[in-house]
Symmetry: C2
Subunit: 376 residues, 2 copies
């Protein structure tokens, strides 16, 4: 489990941190002040609670609706707090930067959003997140709240990683929050939401790359070193090592490196734990994700790691269309921009999600959050 990194309250301009140039004040206040800004900016959409920190829909709890809760370390904004609102998340639990939130955040958040139809935890596969959401699920269940917990593990770059057993949870998380959020809004039951979320995870695959590192405020120096002419292929969203270091490549070569790993990825088998409300126990499930096939329709998500501007993402998207066409895969929807970021890291990730009628219907449904908004 990742624990909260504590550091002295340093002001910028003093000592070692005077070379860390960010729009922040004291390091210990970074997450709190960002949440305060979000609360001030979007009072019609969301409400922020402090100590423990969590973000809920302004109209929470919505009676009779399944509530979606996600969370994870801060530094990936707008995910997750920026996806709280009508048609997406009911609650989000932000940890310190790149640090898992605690079970009490998740538990208090679940209590605040449960409208009687149960709470679905949407959990990115990082060991700290997984363990803490498991504890929170048990606490909520003990309180009489029906819970379900679905893991997102979509990163094809590496099998295991720093902080992760199995594949990491990355870009598919954003798509799952949108799609399952719309389903919950439309009246899906907790079981139906869990089934849909599991399907979205199994249909989605991602891979990312970094052009530059990023600086965690409490660390004050780059998470990893990257040469002036180097990039990291298969990077994690916390700067975890990827598949390889490479010399700088063109946008087309980078797009190909990411897209082919995703499209040509074979069947992926693993065992996950899900909560069973009938027995009040964790049960194991064997899951196999099938590879993409010619004839598939997909939602394509080209994501900025934070510091890469949207114009460059369009160059990637252009090549991605060509690669997918060559594989007989048709992109029927897209999302292009900074949605699951790593602070100011430059680079991008690609997510492809096989889309059926159910998924497209909920993708197209209205959403009103600070980070993603249409039809509302």
């Amino acid at each position: 489990m990742l624990t909260v990194r504590k550091s002295a309250s340093l002001n910028l301009g003093e000592g070692v941190n005077n070379k860390m140039k960010k729009l922040i004040n004291a390091i210990d206040d970074v997450v709190k002040e960002q949440l305060e800004g979000m609360a001030a900016a979007h009072p019609d959409v969301l409400t922020v609670h402090y100590e423990p920190n969590f973000v809920v829909r302004a109209d929470a709890p919505v009676q009779g609706k399944v509530a979606l809760v996600s969370g994870g370390g801060s530094g990936h904004e707008p995910m997750h707090g920026g996806f709280v609102g009508m048609g997406m998340l009911d609650g989000a639990c932000p940890g310190e930067v790149f640090t898992s939130p605690t079970p009490d955040q998740m538990y208090e958040c679940a209590k605040a959003v449960d409208g009687g139809a149960g709470v679905l935890f949407l959990v990115k596969n990082y060991t700290g997140d997984v363990l803490n959401f498991e504890t929170a699920a048990e606490l909520a269940f003990a309180d009489g709240i029906k819970v379900q917990s679905i893991l997102i593990d979509d990163d094809v770059a590496v099998k295991d990683s720093l902080y992760t057993a199995g594949r990491r949870g990355v870009g598919t998380t954003v798509l799952a929050e949108k799609i399952v959020g719309a389903a919950a809004e439309a009246g899906y039951s907790l079981e139906q939401c869990a089934d849909l979320c599991r399907k979205v995870n199994q249909y989605g695959r991602s891979m990312g790359m970094a052009i530059t590192s990023c600086i965690v405020p409490a660390a004050g120096k780059p998470t990893f070193d990257l040469g002036d002419d180097e990039i990291e292929i298969g990077i994690g969203i916390h700067g975890e090592p990827g598949q390889k270091r490479a010399k700088m490549m063109t946008a087309d070569e980078i797009t190909e490196a990411l897209a082919l790993e995703i499209i040509d990825d074979g069947p992926y088998s693993r065992t996950v734990r899900e909560w069973d409300n009938a027995s009040g126990e964790w049960v194991e499930k064997d899951l196999v994700d099938e590879p993409f096939q010619s004839g598939d329709e997909v939602i394509a998500f080209v994501n900025s790691m934070g510091g890469t501007p949207v114009a460059e993402l369009y160059a990637v998207y252009r090549k991605l269309v060509e690669i997918c066409e060559g594989k007989g895969i048709k992109i029927v929807r897209n999302l292009i921009g900074p949605y699951i970021t790593s602070l100011e890291m430059q680079g991008c990730s690609i997510t492809l999600l096989k889309a059926d009628e159910e998924i497209l219907k909920f993708w197209d449904a209205p959403v009103n959050t600070p980070g993603l908004r249409w039809g509302a």
Copy 2:
């Protein structure tokens, strides 16, 4: 007038440019390929024309509706091409990176979007843009198209600048495109659109700052040098020098430095040229922008220069609310994110726009563009 910078078609990984790490292919293709990606991603919203390059609404020309056209150098995305669509721009003319588009781009774009009710050019105050849009207006008028041209000059940082006589046009441009776009959609005449656009410009003031420089692809090296512990207060969106270099400051200090210049700015007088369709001549107009006052309601726009992640903007917004409250100014709407950028530059800008009933009505109206979308 800024002319198009030509450079040899360099591939990354060769010679001097192997340290410029961007998601691009050959340097001469940067703008074209980004436009191709945008066209592929948003065919329901917009259409891209090449040689000359311009972007128009997918349903252009909209008969009987005033058409809004803007443009400028590329590198500021999503502005302007990403703001083409229902409720905002009818057309956008992208120049090479940080380089004015040419009169033929603007003229061809105007012809493509005119639906018989005339074309309003929304022009940021840079000498090249101003001269080229003037030529384009004359060409369009000679073709029987009613034209009007409104200048945006809202940057309080400096009086004159590189490429600019008078104040530069920055963040208010985004707000004007949204507000006047909605008015055109609602059936405003060309004169009414021009009057509203002039008012929005007079009601808006902006100022920006940079934490890092950016690299123009054709230059291959940073536009300006900034020390490891330095920032530039009052930066222009092309890296033009601002008011001063300063040592790194906290988010609160930076917010104060920008916001107080905006709020305490005195009356601003200058003479602008506008086209007169009756006489077929340019006429001069004396304009005075009045300062903000206690009791004003405003739209607050906190913008990322491209490389600064949205979470940091919320820390700025938090302090901005406090400063405005202290001055008796009430923020009634906000926009927070990367909307008028300078490639991958890190930093932010603040725009405050005095908001009356007419402005708020059109701000709230539906918009459907790649860069800004709600209610649709």
